[in-house]
């Protein structure tokens, strides 16, 4: 469903994403992991067609993001890292607007809005201004918005960040419930979350692909006869190893001219 090939994105002299390739197949739910600044959001912005890649390609459902952006945009529900809400609109007004620009047919709109209000558990706040909602509810508005039009692919950039543990659990359960019908790629730095809801993890570090494997395989890679590490330890060890391999010179090479 998502095919990323040799993707590089450069911001002036900073290489934010460096020749990253991966696939996400239909029906999968994949965790996209990395420290802050690793290049997760940048990769997602390219895949959703918000920014162009410097080199390399990204395809969604067989359509090249650069060649046929409209086809791609029609098939993706995207929750950006900063939830894109209009504080002066109520939840229903907001969803009505997004449904319109996503091309949901006029007749189907009402039902579609009800459907996502239900899914994201927003019914009780439907007439409230989105600007007055708590962070948790705003995040759900962001997810509800992504679900409008029932796109086959969901790209969720840190859907649980900034939420309290209770809210995080709610959002996690929501995502798990969505997994049956959508191909999902979600970024996070909450490793427990990945262990719980994703079978597979793609890890990027300093813009480069560090690992792409089933979570259980990643854990068994670092297993010793004495003990099985948890995913957090695996992640830590993996990144430390990478940093050690990279000489100081290689570190600065990330900031290639």
């Amino acid at each position: 469903m998502i095919e990323v090939r040799e993707l590089t994105k450069r911001y002036r002299d900073l290489v934010a994403v460096d020749r990253v390739s991966f696939n996400v197949t239909k029906g999968e739910i994949v965790g996209f992991l990395g420290l802050n600044g690793a290049g997760k959001s940048t990769t997602m912005k390219v895949v959703t067609g918000y920014i162009p890649a410097t080199t390399g390609t990204a395809k969604v459902a067989g359509f090249d993001v650069f060649e046929e952006p409209m086809e791609v945009k029609r098939r993706i529900g995207y929750l950006p890292e900063i939830v894109p809400i209009y504080p002066d609109l109520t939840v229903t007004e907001y969803l009505d607007f997004v449904a319109s620009i996503k091309g949901v047919a006029k007749k189907a709109k009402k039902g579609e809005i009800e459907r996502v209000l239900e899914k994201a558990q927003l019914k009780d706040v439907r007439e409230r201004l989105t600007g007055n909602l708590s962070k948790g509810f705003q995040q759900r508005c962001g997810i509800a918005q992504a679900l409008l039009g029932n796109p086959p692919v969901l790209i969720l950039d840190e859907p649980t960040s900034g939420l309290d543990p209770q809210q995080q659990r709610n959002v996690r359960e929501l995502i798990q419930a969505l997994a049956a019908e959508h191909t999902i790629m979600l970024s996070t730095h909450n490793l427990a979350e990945v262990e719980q809801i994703c079978k597979r993890a793609i890890i990027i570090h300093r813009g480069k692909l560090a690992a792409d494997d089933l979570v259980q395989n990643l854990i068994s890679r670092y297993k010793t006869p004495e003990r099985t590490p948890n995913f957090y330890e695996v992640f830590d060890t993996m990144l430390n190893d990478l940093d050690r391999q990279a000489t100081p010179a290689a570190n600065t090479a990330v900031r290639a001219a």
């Binding site: 995207y78 950006p80 900063i82 209009y86 609109l89 997004v98 319109s100 620009i101």
Partner: protein
């Protein structure tokens, strides 16, 4: 088309759920009402004076169009222009600041639809602003008719004047929208629009005392010079072409800026 209207509808909703539009409309109505009252007062005083002097000829020359509406137009367009940068400042800058632009750009909406949708919303607001001031000629009409004057107002001239003011406003907000598209700060947007507005307002003055090419050029570039014929009820193709070109240029530049947004 659907996307354009959806965006226009959203902008109008925000205009009328936040205080912005009410403040603008109220301020505009209050200021113009004040000048209307003053001008009508002056008209009444002058009429009384001529009656006292038995100056029949002078009395016959008194009419609402020249004595009230024309000077009122001047007041209306001045305050209209001053308020216009506030109509557009938010439109694109705020989408950039709050990152809702990312939403717009990742749904199947084309940049041109974003630009036109926002422009339609702003045009609607300025249409409402001007429409409110239509009550003043209406009052004169009703009052004049009650005193037995069959046609106290020359409506063709009045409507022509309104068309001119609307086009003037439409040209200014096209550049206001552009100013809003080059920054993510509403303050910067409003200051840039003021600067451009004042430049094209005052440019006509630079030509005073000059002759030939410079005088022609400055007079032709001036936003205000092109309004004059409209207010006297004369529709000139050159004036229409001027305003339509300014609108087209403003929208073209805005479109470029929105497209370029992703390529930084």
């Amino acid at each position: 088309m659907g996307n354009t209207l959806a965006i226009a509808k959203k902008e109008l909703r925000i205009y009328f759920t936040t205080a912005t539009s009410y403040v603008l409309l109220t301020a505009f109505a209050a200021i113009t009402a004040y000048f209307f009252v003053v001008l009508v007062g002056a008209y009444a005083a002058q009429t009384t004076q001529f009656m006292g002097m038995q100056a029949q000829q002078m009395l016959e020359r008194m009419n609402f169009n020249d004595q009230v509406i024309l000077p009122l137009f001047f007041n209306i367009y001045v305050f209209f222009l001053i308020l216009l940068p506030m109509v557009t400042m938010r439109l694109i800058a705020e989408e950039k600041r709050t990152k809702t632009m990312q939403l717009l750009m990742t749904t199947p909406v084309r940049p041109i639809e974003i630009v036109l949708g926002k422009y339609i919303a702003a045009s609607t607001l300025i249409f409402v602003m001007l429409a409110i001031t239509m009550v003043y000629p209406l009052i004169l009409q009703i009052y004049g008719a009650s005193t037995g004057d069959a046609a106290p107002i020359d409506w063709a001239t009045v409507l022509c004047g309104y068309l001119g003011m609307f086009l003037l406003g439409a040209a200014v907000i096209a550049f206001g929208l552009f100013a809003s598209s080059v920054t993510d700060s509403q303050i910067v947007a409003v200051l840039v629009s003021f600067a451009v507005l004042i430049l094209f307002w005052m440019i006509g003055w630079a030509g005073y005392g000059q002759q030939g090419f410079v005088a022609d050029l400055t007079a032709n570039l001036s936003l205000i010079n092109h309004l004059e014929s409209f207010t006297r009820g004369i529709l000139k193709v050159s004036d229409l072409v001027y305003y339509v070109s300014v609108i087209a240029l403003g929208l073209f530049l805005t479109h470029r800026a929105v497209e370029a947004e992703r390529w930084n």
